[in-house]
Symmetry: D2
Subunit: 313 residues, 4 copies
C-alpha cells in the first residue's frame, strides 16, 4: 500500500520489455532502458502497457516485470502499471498481484473479447477502483479493445472519482478535443495523456496534460524537451521537436509483412538495439524480430534524425 | 493424457456455465444442464466457449468448470474445451492446466487484443498443437477476435495436421462454402462445425459436419433431430426444425439495453431457468441478469415454440 | 406505363453490360447475352444493377441500356431496372427516365455517400414508390451502400405496400433468416431474392423466392436447374448444382491486384468472352480488363465445371 | 475558361445551400450567406461540397448553385466547386457543366459505391485532371467514400501535377502529419486544407495551409482570426479561437435522432437562421429540418459563444 500520489502528467513512456534471445526477461537491458528514460527526463513510466507486450505475458512474467521496474526506478519517478485483461475478474487479479509494488496507479481498458455495453463498462471500472486506493486510469484504445470510450462516460467516471485520468490512444482527435473541453468545464477531474506520439503538439493545444509515447522509449529527451516547450508556450519549439519525432516515427513503417506490435514495438526494440540500449530486438511469442533491410532503413532514420551519431559519438 | 479420439461431429453445444445468485459455480444446475443435453441426444459438449462465459473466468474457475463437466459427463460423450486467451503463452497455460482432464480436444482462437498477422496466427496454432497430443480446433469468431481466419490458412493448417477442425462463427456463409469446398478437395482434413444456430440447415447443405449451437443448451433435442434428418437427407424435416429453432432464437432479441453475452447468453440462461433446468440466470461480473418484461417475452417464445408446455406438463 | 405485373421470383440475373473495345455499348453482344439467359431458362432480368456497372454510367448510357434490353427481351420475361443513385432526387430522375420502357419494377438502395438514418431511409423509399405505379424493390447491399437495412424496416415498408420485395446482398444469412421468418408471419408481403450466388441453396431453405446471381450471366441454366429442383424439393440436386456453381464462382478470385467489380464483373465478362457470348471483357472507366494468366485460370475453371466443352463442342 | 489561379489557402468554408421552405434554392439567403462569409474575411469559397448537400442535388440544381455563387462572389475571392459523383464519367460531366463558370478549381473524391482499388483511383484522378486546365483537389472523406487515400498516392499525384491540393476530412491526424511531412520533403507540390473544424489548430502545427470548416459558415470571422494568428505564430490566440469554435461546434450534437448532414448541416442552417443570415433551416429531401428543443439548445450555444448577442445587438 502507498499513499495516493499526486496526479501524474508530462512524459510517461509505455516501457518496452527487453528480452534475451531466448525470450527471457533481460534485466541488464531493462536497467539500461530505464536509465535511458530517466536520463531523458521523463516524468513517469508506464509498465505493462501495449508497448510492453502485456498481452503476451503470463502472470509470472507480469509480476517479474513490475518487480524489476519498480526496483530499478526506486521511486525516482512514479510508475503506473497496466492491468490489462479480458474482463473484470482477471483485471482484479492483476491489481491484487500488483499491490505489493510501489506503484502510482493502474491503467485498465474497457472489457474486450466478449462484447459489453456502457452498463458493463461502467460496472467494470467501478469494480476496479473499489479494489484499490491507487489512482485508476482509463485506457482508450479502440484498435485493440474495439470499443470507443465516450467522453460523457469518461467525464462521469472522473467526476465520480472512479478514474483519475485517461490515456487516449483512440485516434479520434475531434473526440479528444471534446473530452478536454468537457473536462475543463467539469473542473478538470481527469488528467489527460495522449498516446499518439506524432501529434502530441496538437494534443497539447487541445488540452493534453502530457503523453504516453511508445516512441519515447527511443527518444525520451525529445519528448521531454517538447513537453517543457509546451509548458513554456514556445510553440515553434514544440512543433520543431514534434516534426523531428514524427520523422523518427517512420521507423515503424519500415518492416515489410509485419503488422501491429511486431512492426511498431519491433521497430522500437530494433532502434534501441542499434542505439546500444538493449541487447536484442527479440519479441514475445508468436512474433518474430525485424531482420534484414528493414534494420538498415531503421538505422538510416536514426541517423537522419540525429540519434545514432549522438549515441555512437 | 488420453488416446486421440475419433473426430467429433454432430451437435456439440457450447455449454453454459450456471451460477448461483452469488456468482459461484452452481454444480447442481450444471448437473441438470448436462443431463438435459445428454437426454436431448447431443454428440459432444464444448466447455469454456464464449457461451460458457470463458472470457470472464479466472484460471481457478476455468479449472473448476472442466473438473465438474468432465466428472458429470464421465465419458458419455466427448468433451472439448476452450483455451481462449489473448496470446500464445497464456493459451499454453490453459492447455497445460487442462491436460489432466478427460478431454477430446481443445478449441483456440487466433491471438487477439494485440494485432497480429498471418505469420503470427500460423505460429500461434502450431505452438498450441505442439503442446498436446489432443486434437486442436480453430475457432473463427471475428466478432470477438477481430480477425477472420482465411480458408487458405485453415486448409493449410488442416493439411499439415495442426488443426483437426474449425468452429465457424464468422457469419460469412460465402466463406464457409469456399472452406467446405476446399476441404473436400483436400481430402477432408478438417471437421467443420457451424456456430450460427439459425442457419445450420444451409451449413449442412454447404458441407458442415455439425453445429456448435449456443441455443442447443435450451433445445438440444431440436438440434439433434435436425442433425439426424440431415444425415438421412430429409431436408424438409431439417428445414422444419430449423425454422422452429430460429423462432426460438428470438429470445436473444428480447432484452432491451443489453448487448453481447449479457443479451444472448443471458437469454439462454433465463430460458433454462424458466424451463426448470438451472436455478438462476445470474451472469458473470460485470454483467447483470435479464429482468422484467423481457423475461415474460422469453417465456412467451418458449411457449409458442412448444418448449415450455412440454417442460411443465 | 404498364399494369402492375405479378410478383417476380425465380432466377433473375443482374445483367452485365457488354462493351466494345472502345467502351461503347455492344449491342450484338448484348443480344447474344440476353439470348444466353433466356435459353438458360431465367425467370426475369435485372438491368442496371451493380453487375451491370450502373455506378459507372451517365444518364444517357443508362437509358440506352434500358432501351436495348427491353427491346431485345420484348416481353419474353419481366425486366426490372436499377435506379441506383446517391439520394432521392436523382433516383426519382432515373425513375422518370425509365417510365417509357416496358419494365416490371425498379430496384433502389438506401441513400448513400451522405449519411442518413432510418427516418431518411424510410422517406426515401416512400418518395420513390409514390412516383411510380410499378413495384419497387429494396436492394440491401451494405458493401456498397454502407447501411444495412433492418428486417423490421423492410417488413414495415412491405406491409405498407411501399416495397414489393428485397434483393438481399447483405452477406448476413442470420439476418436473412429472420427477415424470411418475419415475412411469413406478416403474410408474405415481400418477395425475397438472394444475391449471394454460392449459397442460394441455403437461402432457399431459409425462405428465398429466388436469386439474383451475377454468376447467372455465365451459367443461367445451372441456376434455373437449381431453382426447379428447389421447387420440387429435390435438395440433393439443389446441392449438387450449387456446389458446381460455387466451383465456377472461383473465377472471381483469379485476377490479381483487382478488387470489386474489376475482379468480379471482370471475371464474368472474361468468362462470357471465352464462351463466345460477348466480344470483349472491356470494363467501364476507370477499370481495366482482366488480362494475362488470370484469363487462362478462368478458362481452366470453365472447363473443369463443364461449361467450356459444351460451348465449344 | 480561366487562367490557372494561384494556389488557394487559408479559410475556405464549404458553402451551405440555403433553401426556401418549399425546397427551392433561396437566392436572397445565399446572397446574405456569401456576404456573411466575405465580411468574415474568408480566403475562398468551396461550393457543392458535402456541407452544400451536393449529394442530394440533380444536375440542374448543381448548375444553379454554381451560377448563383459565382455571380454573387463576382471574383472577390476564388470559388472552387465540388464535382462529386460515384464514378469517373459522371464526374467528367460535372466538370464539363462547370467550365463556363468562374472557378478556381474542382474538388473530387475517389470513386465510391462500386469498390475500386489504387489502380482505379489513380486513373480516376488522372482522367479528371486531363479534362480541365483548372486545379484539381482530392477530397479525402472516408466517412462518405469508404476509401482512405494514402499519403503515398496523394504525394505521387501531386508530384505528377495531377492534383494541386488535398482537402483532408479523414479524421486521421496521424496520417495527416505524415502527409504534411511527405509534402514538405517533396517540395510542397500540394496545398493541404483540413476539414475538421475543431482541431484546425493542431493541423496548423502539423503543416496545414488552411481549413475548409463547415462551421465556418456560422462563424467565418473566428476562423479568419485563427488563420491570421497562426500565420503570425501567435499560438495562444490560435488556441483561444479554436477552443471557442470547438464550443460553438457543439451545436451539431444537439439534435436527437438525427445523423449525418441532417444533424451537422442541419445545425449550421439552424444557427444561421437564428443569426438572421438565412431564412429557413430547410434540408434537402429526404431530410427533415431540426425542430423543437434542439433549436433552443443551439440558440443557447450561439449566445454562450458570443455570436447571438453581436448579431442581435
Amino acid at each position: 500500500m502507498t499513499t495516493a500520489p499526486a496526479p501524474l502528467s508530462g512524459v510517461v513512456p509505455p516501457l518496452l520489455t527487453p528480452l534475451t534471445a531466448e525470450g527471457e526477461l533481460d534485466l541488464p537491458s531493462l536497467e539500461r532502458l530505464v536509465a535511458h528514460l530517466l536520463d531523458g527526463g521523463v516524468d513517469g513510466i508506464f509498465a505493462l502497457g501495449s508497448s510492453g507486450e502485456v498481452a503476451f505475458w503470463d502472470d509470472a512474467r507480469r509480476e517479474a516485470v513490475l518487480e524489476a521496474v519498480t526496483g530499478i526506478v526506486a521511486g525516482q519517478v512514479p510508475v503506473i502499471a497496466g492491468v490489462i485483461d479480458m474482463q473484470t475478474d482477471r483485471v482484479l487479479q492483476h491489481v491484487r498481484a500488483a499491490e505489493r509494488f510501489d506503484l502510482a496507479g493502474y491503467v485498465a481498458t474497457a472489457p474486450f473479447y466478449a462484447i459489453t455495453g456502457p452498463e458493463e463498462i461502467d460496472a467494470h471500472f467501478r469494480a476496479i477502483a473499489a479494489a484499490t486506493d491507487r489512482p485508476l486510469w482509463a485506457y482508450d484504445l479502440p484498435v485493440c479493445v474495439h470499443t470507443k470510450l465516450s467522453a460523457a462516460q469518461l467525464l462521469r467516471l472522473g467526476s465520480d472519482g472512479v478514474i483519475a485520468g485517461v490515456k487516449d490512444s483512440s485516434g479520434d482527435d475531434v473526440g479528444f478535443r471534446r473530452l478536454a473541453a468537457g473536462n475543463r468545464a467539469a473542473g478538470s477531474p481527469l488528467t489527460l495523456l495522449t498516446g499518439h506520439e506524432v501529434v502530441v503538439d496538437g494534443a497539447y493545444l487541445a488540452g493534453a496534460d502530457g503523453s504516453v509515447p511508445g516512441l519515447g522509449n527511443v527518444d525520451p529527451a525529445g519528448y521531454a524537451r517538447m513537453h517543457r516547450a509546451a509548458q513554456a508556450g514556445d510553440w515553434e519549439q514544440v512543433r520543431t521537436e514534434q516534426d523531428r519525432l514524427a520523422a523518427l516515427f517512420e521507423i515503424v513503417f519500415q518492416p515489410t509483412g509485419k503488422v501491429g506490435p511486431a512492426a511498431g514495438v519491433g521497430a522500437f526494440k530494433t532502434a534501441l538495439r542499434e542505439l546500444g540500449v538493449v541487447s536484442t530486438n527479440t519479441m514475445a511469442t508468436p512474433m518474430s524480430p525485424i531482420e534484414g533491410e528493414a534494420v538498415q532503413r531503421i538505422r538510416g532514420i536514426l541517423q537522419s534524425t540525429g540519434l545514432l551519431e549522438s549515441a555512437r559519438a
